[in-house]
Subunit: 578 residues, 2 copies
């Protein structure tokens, strides 16, 4: 993993590849790599869909090794949704495979002169790029099927659906899972639109003939991995809750806590929660012969993903995640798991971010385009996105655009990006993260739900403003570092609660690279990543006035706790004082 | 003109009026009044369509007197299009009438709980407000006709069409002209959407029984006005060019100068220019029994407006302005005056900004929604805006939104507002104004076309970057002051070239208010207004990085001069150094 592959999609005569060593980017991986390249090489005021933007695809520092949970792939660029820097990461196979192929990053640069669509194939023999307009407007499932026929079953794919080709703000980039299905998405920020603007439909990876990455100190690495896995298995969240019910275990918890945004952030709990909860979902999956406990990539031991079958017992989609069940479910007043699963399938197939898509439909329902609770209408609307009808184009612009187009006031976005499944009024720590993260509203950027709701890593009362700044700051720093390792963020549950599991993570990095990293070093890495990102955003025109929630959160009380978001602006401005 | 009328549209039990004296706003008028109230009373981070925004309607300092040209009405708010402060002004009758009724400002505040539509009637007896849902979705012409039947022929109206009710970013506020037609629009920045969000369809004004405003020093005022009118009549632009051909006299001039944005800012001159020029237009109008020389308000002596008849010699619309003939004409490759006149009528009737609307259609043509040059398609698209179809909603969002929805890179906007009819690469002074005005891209904010093209107020080579900063700075300051007087900005041609005409303007203000204002005082007023506006924008999150043109203007050369916009960023940052 000592090379960077650059592909100039705008070169005269067609795409041109250059392979270099890591140079100044040595020692970086995942989000640290994508943010460093974007911050250094992309003009902050460029058009996100123009030749000056770059799409950076990077496995994490530990990806490609035998380390458990190291399969996250980071994709970065200037975001067409937020106008700021973006890193979006996903599970699935590509991070491991790309790392084993030896690439620390793929950088897509420039812009083709016409609308030719390309596929890129990377294997042990090198890189080949071919125009293939037969792929135009293929949904992700069909596309992957075609690639399988063409290149065999040993591949994995990084691809866009029709939404990415149409350069929609909601467009995601799909990564195939262990079953070679396009179910794991770098969803947020419209990264799929940037891939579409580069004219790249799919990157096919095949690591046949390559071996697992060798750490500097193999014995110490193996030992650290053993302790790391033990720690994950021991913790109740990563060892029990997530494997049994997946992320959707949160539906009942959040609705009971009064922090479950319902009817486009009108209230904090949902009457239909139990009908779409992780418990109900897992039971249904088992009944239909599907599987609620499943890993999304090689080396996953938490196994929070799953498989969802339709009423006839046939594969419909992967087990919808909590955020998806919320965005298409409670947020739109929908309590029908089969409808939500269908929406999840459509999202994956068209290639859109399920969070942004569901939040957008919530705003459209607020505008009167459909009735809250109307699952059939929601399905029809997502299909329109895939078809690129005028209404589909509006919704494909995301929640902020949809709000503007229909003149809606209640639009739950920060920096143009829709909020995920936690109401910031009743989970104030996550509100601080939404407001201040350089990514726009993003739960994974500093997942304060841990201490606010799950009592992991301590407890901070979710309904009070006290303590939320420190909580969010620490989590944002830790997350920026973890996102650079290739580790799934869910390791945080165990790492936050168990010092020995955190030590095992450090030992993995040290044994892999021959380092002497301590906890302080991880904090420094996290701060460095956040600083690069904030500095890019500042040059793109962002100020502290963009680190704010929409004002209705501080003005409208949320039932059942009758709370507003009352963290003071001057405190929000202290999140990055370190 | 010593009172402020405030109407709380969100008061319990229905709209509630309060009339106060001027208080801290004494001595302000027009843009100085609207910007002062918005800057002081509107939270910069509020939602533009929410209860916290205010719509301020203010006649100028000299409106309502006998002073020639004093009929501009300023309307201000936080703009839903730009997200910053907005002042948009128009001619027509309302400024004179409102001033004679004694109001220095109407401030619409709050937000109705439901979607009831209101009409407000103001006459010598006071203010009455009535719900009238029969007016819903009425286009402006029908609406005014209904008001005429209800309240007689002595009224004038300030109203919104369907676009304002739908809270579209392109929505304007119409002011009726001397023939009681809704032809003069506060177009820019989506002010109509804010009026729509307040639930106000129309403000009917009737100054029957009121008298002309009396200046402090009547004889000096009369004398100053005489000298002022003499100066206007003497200058070739205000005394000859504008009366004969209207603003559209500029089409041939700009196209010949290579600064006429054609095919969505792809080239700088238009082959069809002579077919849609002011000269051709005036000839056609005369042939059809219409009138190319006509004033838009009482007291206008320049008379640059006119009347446009259709092929059958029947009234179709007012004489389309240069900016409209450009936006719907050359910018979209359309060279058919009758089609452009129809588009002008539709814009006025639906209630949209002709500049934003035409620029938006240009972007839609760039996206392939219609062919450049297809006038029928353009008419169909504008009709869709009026109907609020999904495609109409997209276009109603303006050029920036349309660009985002369709993934277009070439989108000529600054701060979200579309550029008018001068390419900043070939008229660099206006480029500086576009980039730096607190209003977003706006030609009237600092009309450097004077010295760049018309050689009025000196000459600064339009193709070179030298001298443009000073030119734009001086004009922006002067304009902010003139926009506060109620004077039509076209007086600037004479005032810039003829010191005695500038003195006459000062004498008008001094005689009216008993002041001793000098040229320096006017400059101070202009700086004060700009400073308030920029300070509001800074609190709304704007930085110097928003004072930039889209990057394609500095990267793509404009034919025929093969120029880019090369004024340096650090120089743009000096515009407001005074």
């Amino acid at each position: 993993m000592d090379r960077i592959l650059r592909i100039d999609m705008g070169a005269e005569g067609g795409p041109k590849t250059t392979i270099t060593d890591l140079g100044e980017y040595a020692g970086l991986g995942g989000r640290a790599m994508t943010s460093a390249i974007v911050a250094k090489e992309v003009p902050p005021l460029c058009h996100p869909l123009g030749a000056e933007n770059k799409l950076v695809i990077a496995p994490g520092l530990l990806s490609g090794t035998i380390a458990a949970m190291s399969g996250r792939l980071s994709i970065g660029c200037k975001s067409p949704l937020t106008g700021g820097i973006k890193e979006s990461n996903a599970g699935g196979q590509p991070a491991q495979v790309l790392a084993r192929l030896g690439y620390a990053a793929i950088v897509l640069e420039g812009k083709p002169a016409d609308d030719t669509l390309y596929k890129i194939v990377i294997n042990k023999d090198g890189v080949s790029i071919a125009a293939d307009n037969s792929l135009k407007m293929k949904p992700n499932y069909d596309l992957v099927e075609k690639m399988k026929q063409e290149f065999g079953e040993k591949i994995c794919c990084i691809s866009i659906g029709p939404a990415g080709e149409m350069k929609m703000n909601v467009a995601s980039i799909a990564c195939t899972d262990m079953e070679l299905r396009p179910t794991r998405h770098c969803g947020r920020g419209g990264v799929g639109a940037v891939m579409g603007s580069k004219g790249v439909k799919v990157i096919v990876l095949d690591d046949s003939g390559m071996t697992v990455r060798a750490p500097k100190n193999p014995d110490a690495f193996k030992d650290a991995n053993r302790r790391f896995v033990e720690g994950l298995m021991k913790h109740p969240v990563t060892g029990q809750g997530l494997p049994a019910y997946g992320t959707n275990v949160l539906t009942n918890i959040l609705s009971e806590a009064g922090g479950y945004p319902t009817f486009n952030f009108k209230q904090g709990s949902f009457d239909g929660a139990s009908k779409i909860s992780g418990e109900t979902q897992a039971e249904l999956e088992k009944k239909r012969g599907a599987n609620p406990t499943h890993g999304c990539h090689r080396g996953c031991v938490i196994r929070c993903s799953g498989i969802y079958h339709d009423k006839d017992g046939k594969y419909l989609t992967k087990q919808p995640e909590y955020e998806t069940v919320w965005s298409h479910g409670g947020n739109c007043g929908i309590d029908d798991l089969d409808a939500i699963a269908m929406l999840d399938f459509l999202d994956d197939n068209i290639g859109v971010d399920t969070i942004e898509m569901g939040a957008t439909i919530g705003v459209a329902m607020e505008a009167g385009i459909a009735r809250f609770g109307d699952a059939e209408a929601a399905i029809r609307l997502v299909k329109e996105v895939g078809q690129g009808t005028p209404l589909g184009r509006i919704l494909g612009g995301g929640a902020a655009i949809t709000g503007k187009v229909f003149g809606v006031e209640r639009v739950p976005v920060v920096k143009g990006q829709a909020m995920p499944a936690y109401d910031p009024r009743a989970v104030k720590g996550i509100g601080v993260t939404y407001a201040t993260s350089p990514m726009g509203a993003d739960h994974t950027a500093g997942y304060a739900v841990t201490a606010n709701i799950l009592k992991v890593g301590g407890y901070v009362d979710p309904l009070k403003s006290e303590g939320q700044i420190t909580l969010s700051r620490d989590l944002q720093i830790a997350t920026a570092a973890v996102d650079s390792t290739g580790m799934c963020i869910f390791i945080a549950f165990a790492v936050l609660d168990q010092p020995e599991t955190f030590q095992a993570l450090l030992d993995l990095l040290n044994a892999c690279y021959g380092l002497n990293l301590t906890g302080d070093g991880v904090v420094e890495l996290g701060k460095k990543v956040l600083s690069m990102e904030r500095e890019f955003n500042a040059r793109a025109g962002f100020t502290k006035d963009h680190d704010r929630l929409p004002r209705f959160f501080s003005q409208e009380k949320l039932a059942p706790h009758q709370v507003t978001f009352d963290v003071k602006d001057e405190d929000l401005d202290k999140v990055f004082n370190w």
